[in-house]
Amino acid sequence: MPLNTITKNFRKAYTEFTTRIYDIPPRMLAFLILVMFTLLPYLIPYGRPLREILSVLISANLMAILAVSWDLLVGRTGLISLGHALFYGVGAYGTAILYKYFGWPIWITIPLGMLAGVGIALIIGFPCLRLKGPYLALLTMALPLSVTGFLYYFGDVFGRERGIADLPRVFPGLRLYDRYIADYYLSLALLTICSIIIYKLATSKTGMVFVSILDDELATKACGINVTKYKLMSLAISGLFGSLAGAFYAHMVSGSANPRFFMDPTAILPMENSLVPIIAAILGGIGTIYGPIVGVYLYRLLQDFAFPRMFECLKATGITVDVYLQPHIALVAFISIIVLLIVRWPRGIARAIVEWLEDLEEPREVEEILKEKAEKG
């Protein structure tokens, strides 16, 4: 491919980020995919492979909820958030604190943790929504980074690096592998329910107002809409689902609420919980609601399956990469792949699939029209 075609595609990729909001995902396809995922545990042999795959999928499902909540806020309402990890962590710490200091069962602590997420969203929203675009973006980035300071200041309460550990599992009674399966189904159910709720909201009239804010805030005001109220609404809902994801993650996956929810300087991808929703949404299609789910799965697929295998293959051919270096090289390669994917499918892979499916219908119509014409004359 000649160089200028690449650059042209590159430019096109960035300028076509915006989305056609009223795309309807093929419901049949989504249903089929859901069925597939439901049957998944039965297709994998019991034992370690099952645990490996399921643990990745559980994390992916929860991360997908975070990503979808991000998409509602950023892709549909236009409020850029570079620090969604905030809600993830608030949900986790919320449920953890309530468990540790009040001893309440998780079916109380988790909803309250979600409320904490909403509360934080509103508390931040009131002063900060007046900030203009770049300022708001910077603030959202600084937020999760700043929270860790608080966590250490009240170190006794929050447990410093270790955080609040030994959180109860959701299904404490089950044996190890059965528990993974149960957790998997729970995470899948949560993802499905949350996505449907957010999707319904996004396509409702309130969702239309969100999009109008994204498109042209001044015109929205001219229509008599209290834009601040709707922005707060979007932020609160995003916070609700983001903290839901975080709370369940704390109980199902990490077993603890620790500062790494907000920011992990030692992680492979720094600011992972803030950056993954962004990358996932871009990969899958910003503003589509279903796009980020696809994006998260792609991310986890590459991260947890493709790259480790890649280094093994390299070893087979004689190239050995130092173990400590592997994840970091993987990340650089990973980002390059993402960039290529974005260039090829600028509006998102999931959107491309949806549009392709819509296109599949058209030839039939055209064929029929041609047939009619032929018959007539």
């Binding site: 960035y14 980020f17 203009k132 770049p134 300022y135 973006a137 910077l138 090289i329």
Partner: protein, 302 residues
């Protein structure tokens, strides 16, 4: 006590102002929020540290002060070039789309962080020692301040002055100023936005690297590959206080931030840990007092 807070606050504040300077200049002239600024801050510091050792070995004892100077100049130039290359490859093509610019530049930070890790290894990426410029202390009024800090603050002031002179006296500088005030008219006057934006990216990356050198040598005596987050947090606080795009505002915001931060860490019991959160607290308080933000380019309506 109060005097110490003011003095340390001002000195730190001047350094913070410099950290934000490249960032705010880039916004003022090209209108983009280039988060990769943090990466260039870090890269500049690492390059400086890398050059310093061999240069100290080469340069004879009498001119030992030339070593850091040369290392700094090399680092600034190279970082500037890296910065403008990064800009040309990525951001230049997506100037219209603010969201993409933010996301791309932040991914740029991550890439640079990883590249540092890959090229320099785990230990150096985690903590890389940068010697202070001067050792010992100096007496300012009644307080004793590390000399390195004072020197850094002075250099920062010099940098500001040089930039101000550059913008008002040279042709390029005036073109930059024109661009920042009225894009269309500047273009009509024949200012080439492409050349100017590239030059701005060079300049702001260079400033970032200078800031990185001063900050890491004076305040932290070391750099880590993830310090871009810190640099961005500082820049961000400074511009919220002083306004994006305003050089004067940068000084103002930096000073306020420096004083407030030092006061908070000294006055609050155990406040040192809070250091990371101070930017955020300062912002919230500032916003509650003055919701519209303080200086900066006012965007009223349409």
């Amino acid at each position: 006590m109060l005097e110490a807070i003011l003095i340390f606050g001002i000195i730190n504040g001047l350094i913070y102002s410099l950290v934000a300077l490249g960032f705010t200049t880039a916004y003022g002239i090209s209108g983009i929020v280039n988060l990769a600024h943090g990466a260039f801050f870090v890269v500049g510091a690492y390059l400086y540290g890398l050059f310093l050792q061999p240069l100290s070995n080469i340069i004879p004892q009498e001119f030992s002060f030339l070593a850091p100077v040369t290392a700094a100049i090399l680092s600034i130039i190279i970082t500037g070039v890296i910065g403008s290359i990064f800009y040309r490859i990525t951001l230049h093509h997506i100037l219209g789309d603010e969201v993409s610019v933010l996301i791309t530049s932040i991914i740029g930070c991550v890439i640079f962080q990883k590249l540092i890790y890959i090229t320099m290894g785990y230990a150096a990426a985690f903590q890389f020692r940068i010697e202070p410029l001067l050792s010992g202390q100096v007496r300012v009024l009644n307080t004793y301040v590390p000399s390195g800090h004072v020197l850094a603050a002075i250099i920062s002031l010099i940098a500001f002055s040089v930039l101000a002179i550059f913008i008002s006296k040279t042709k390029t500088g005036r073109a930059m100023k024109a661009l920042s005030q009225d894009l269309e008219s500047a273009m009509l006057m024949g200012v080439s936005t492409e050349k100017m934006y590239t030059f701005t990216s060079l300049l702001s990356a260079g400033l970032a690297s200078l800031a990185g050198i001063l900050y890491t040598s004076a305040l932290t005596q070391g750099v880590a590959s993830q310090m871009w987050m810190q640099a961005l947090a500082i820049s961000f606080t400074v511009v919220v206080l002083g306004g994006l795009g305003s050089i004067k505002g940068s000084i103002f915001g930096g000073l306020i931030f420096g004083i407030a931060e030092y006061a908070a860490t000294k006055l609050l019991p155990g406040g040192g840990v809070l250091q990371q959160s101070i930017p955020f607290i300062v912002i919230i308080i500032a916003l509650l007092i003055r919701p519209k933000g303080l200086f900066g380019k006012k965007i009223e309506m349409e």
